[in-house]
Symmetry: C2
Subunit: 132 residues, 2 copies
């Protein structure tokens, strides 16, 4: 349960950096000592830290990320790796995401992110998160 909370907290840090357009915070939450990849909505796979961070630099300076928020985050822990599924909600629209995290020096760092369009909507109030 402890690990689930920490995983959800790392996911919150990821989205805080995302929504506020804080590249330094975004850079700090991505894994350094593990493989890294990323699939943005409708795009192909970005491979490796350099390619992935380059995409975030572009996204975060676009200003398009303001006002969206993470909802219905669900944590799954398998030893020193875990993943979150959650919605990324902006107004009436929503994306659905898989975020894979790995432990580095005791901190959860994100190693893979896939977000994609969905017709589904969060079932829970904004403040609720579940650990599975």
């Amino acid at each position: 349960m402890h690990m689930h909370s920490e995983l959800l907290f790392a996911n919150d840090i990821f989205y805080a950096a995302f929504v506020t357009g804080d590249f330094r915070a975004m850079d700090a939450i991505w894994a350094v000592r593990h493989p890294v990849s990323c699939i943005h909505p409708g795009a192909g796979t970005l491979e490796g830290r350099e390619e992935v961070m380059e995409s975030w630099a572009h996204i975060l300076t676009s200003g398009d990320t303001e006002g969206f928020h993470c909802m219905d985050a669900r944590a799954h822990v398998c030893g020193e790796t875990g993943w979150i599924t959650c919605f990324e909600v902006l107004g009436e629209g929503a994306l659905i995401a898989t975020n894979i995290f790995v432990l580095e020096n005791g901190d959860w760092k994100i190693a893979h992110h896939q977000a994609a369009a969905t017709k589904a909507r969060p079932e829970e109030p904004e403040s609720a998160s579940k650990a599975n």
Copy 2:
């Protein structure tokens, strides 16, 4: 490198079950002792083995999975967990997927699958797979 090959092999088993509509093989490749979740294209998150396998029973009996194949699979290993990114190609269309695997009794089992529409297309010939 050995682990990467085994991970790619497990991913092949997953897609062989998928394409041939073999529910027994699909059931056997999903994790039993770890958390399990699944995000089908455009849908919400399915949580837990029962809900996930019910969705596969429905999909595999629909007959809609014939003729598609996995391309450009890339393996990422973090200890006893790993993930694959790959395309699911059917004719001119393609989905892009994240498949998370966990080791159970020495075998890689799938614990999470997200597939979603993409405008991207595989860069590599069908037979090629990369380990990162």
